[in-house]
Symmetry: none
Subunit: 116 residues, 10 copies
């Protein structure tokens, strides 16, 4: 479901390696233990292969997490998996930085490399 | 059309490798999906070979995008292609940093190397 | 309903005028025109009279807006009205500062004064 | 025409004086002398009376100036006049700060007071 | 001569008092004692009456001082006099801040008030 | 006892090396020599193997030190040992930065590497 | 002697009250007790009457103190007296701010008002 | 002509490699296309061989460009050539950073190495 | 004497290399030439071996220098020697940064490595 | 003469390589071309061998330049030579940063290495 929201468009310049970085400082999901909302900043950085991720669909994809109960670590890995599945980038890194809960902050960083 | 606006002048000092960096923080184009304007900063950095890019013509070249509907990724690659085509630099990098849309920002970086 | 979530406790020091400022940088509601989420920072500043606002109940009160479609101006006035109704402060100011939408930001400031 | 794009909605809280500040750092119009684009930041601050200005319509209103040739001073006064005409605020101030042209910057500030 | 370069245009909104501030950080003239160039920032702030100062003509007016030998105090008063003569503002202040010469900086501030 | 408070959950993505950083700026324990409270910031950074540390249980684990008399050096090593024992990470670093006592500050950094 | 170094020129605009501020951050004199150099910043602010102080002569005037043994308080008053004597300003303030000696800084401020 | 203004003096310490950096933030020349002035900061960094560049003559050399129409790229290379010609340094880098024109800034960097 | 004030406690975790950094911004001693007080910041960074330095005793150790006449260089080396003698660390660095005297500041940095 | 003012004292810790950095922001000498004073900051960094430079004598040594006419480059090399001659350090770097003259600043950096 969530993954189906994502759209891509043809990379008009597939002969080059170039870098796209997307930052969303307004991500929110729900803590699966307390039911309370979590707030974070998501940074996606990738080198496209045959397709690029369409930004507006990505915004709607991120909105799907608004009422979903999910751990920080799983949000991060899930986003990487979904974005890799629809866009097959040459490489991609997803980093999530979460606002303090109980005074404690967490940052999760995960990468994918097509040639690895 | 757009490319034809660009003017170059002879590089008076072709025997040296030297670096020219040009920054335009007032770039604007139109989103092809929503028809709404996008705003960004464009940084062009290059080592000239036989010609240098004339700045005033570059300003008019950038203005051609003002009412054009085009994706961030294509603007960036297109500018690199056009500038390489008219000036044949030894190397060139174009980076575009876009203001937030739907709370999300994007940065695209692409390079060309004549000897590669 | 929302207002009923709010709890107060007795002000142990009603003989003094003193100031309480509460800041919530993680407020989110929904735009009634687009259905998309809005993000903002809410600052409540007040001089209590007979009661003080209980913080945990205030957190849950703010959460009630998470999926509500409501204009910036109405959120701000509504919060002032609800907080005044349950705590009858000597004076109170509510300010909401909203993240950019379409490149545009908005700040709304509204005050109540019991003696006015 | 431009003015007709603006929409207002009923001020749900007309019994109070409260302040709304709107900032648009992505305004662009065209210089009537050179035909080249101008870039500026517009700040609108007002106390509503019976109606509030709807933000999305305001965004589209600002877009109408994108290809209009108009002096800084007239943009500023025109925006004040249009916003006052559609929303009849108790008071309003419009300030425009323009990016440098020929090394020179300009800021224009104009106010309206219904009771004056 | 210099004054003749200045152009004005009709103030479309003469019924209001509003403020225009113009800053030129790239002013240069010549020291009448040493013949060496001086560099300064000029700030003009005024309330227009029937006319506004046209910015491009003001740029060319400032350029007229590029090779003129003139004291800081006289530049400042001269600019005020010329701008008042061509635009008859309701009030105007001119301030010049000069880069260090021999380690010493100088700032000159002068005002005109039509009603005084 | 303390260690038993800690909970872990299965790492859903054990096939990848990825990094989790947790910061707690509100840690407090007691000086074993003076009986006075110490305040510090604890940063835990690790690459999970089969399990991840559950944040809420970690918060309660940190609270267990509130009334414990223990040296800075021992707090730091003890936390590393406990977190390694319950989560068996591929690698982990714990750093504690302590507020000034008698005008003197201290920082302790300690690491564990499963493959070393 | 020192005073004789100072030159003035006719104030071309004696009909206006306007303000001239001169800052010299490179002033140095000698402590009369230790024979060691002192370093300070001198700020002169005045409204001229019939004459203005010529900056280059002021620079040479300040240089006269380079090897003079004189207390901070006396430097400040002496400069005010000399500048008033040669230029008869409508009002003048001299402030000296001295670099730390033995960890201690001193600032001296003295004013003259012709109409007082 | 310009080059003849430059003076050098014997490097009293030719046996050492040492570095001299000179910064002029008050450089101005004229755009050969528009006839309007350009403003920039010039940084010269070099290791002297048998001679050093005399600063006062360098100031007058820079002043020669005040009314010269010349491209940014040529100013930069010309200065390098002239300074290398008169002082034969072991190595030298010249960088020019130009104030915005039409909203666009440019930086040019060029180096010379005697042993290359 | 001074050294005897220092206390150590057993390093509970001698099997690991870990780093301890201690900063004292309130150190004061006396200049042996002038008898005037010196003020400085002392930073001690070390990897403990069998013992750790007890902080409170270190505070009293630092206080012993309050009325001692000693050069900056000797304070720094003396502290390193004393701390190495009582705690035999695997490595240690001591850095002292001194407030200005006669306008001049000094920083001394010295290291010890047990395996060197 | 100047060099004779400098005093050294025995390095009590010659068995170690350690670093001493001295900063004097109040240096002044005289321009040999104009006779006007120059102001600068001098930074000396060295590893002592058998002797250390006594700070008070260094202050008096620097004062000797107060009325000496000498180029920036020669001041810098001269100080290095004098300090090396009296203290024979294992290595030493002297850097001088000069206040603007005619709008132009200069920085000179020179090093000595006993083992080179």
């Amino acid at each position: 479901m969530k993954q189906e929201i994502l759209e891509v468009f043809d990379n008009t310049y597939p002969d080059r390696d170039y870098t796209i970085e997307i930052v969303n400082p307004e991500f929110t999901s729900v803590c699966p233990k307390t039911g309370l909302p979590d707030f974070g900043t998501i940074t996606v950085s990738y080198i496209p292969d045959k397709t690029c991720i369409e930004l507006k669909s990505l915004k709607y994809y991120f909105l799907e997490f608004r009422n979903a109960g999910i751990f920080y670590e799983n949000v991060t890995n899930r986003i990487l998996d979904d974005l890799v599945a629809v866009s097959s980038p040459r490489s991609m890194t997803v980093r999530t930085e979460w606002k303090a809960r109980g005074g404690i902050t967490e940052t999760v960083t995960v990468s994918h490399n097509a040639s690895a």
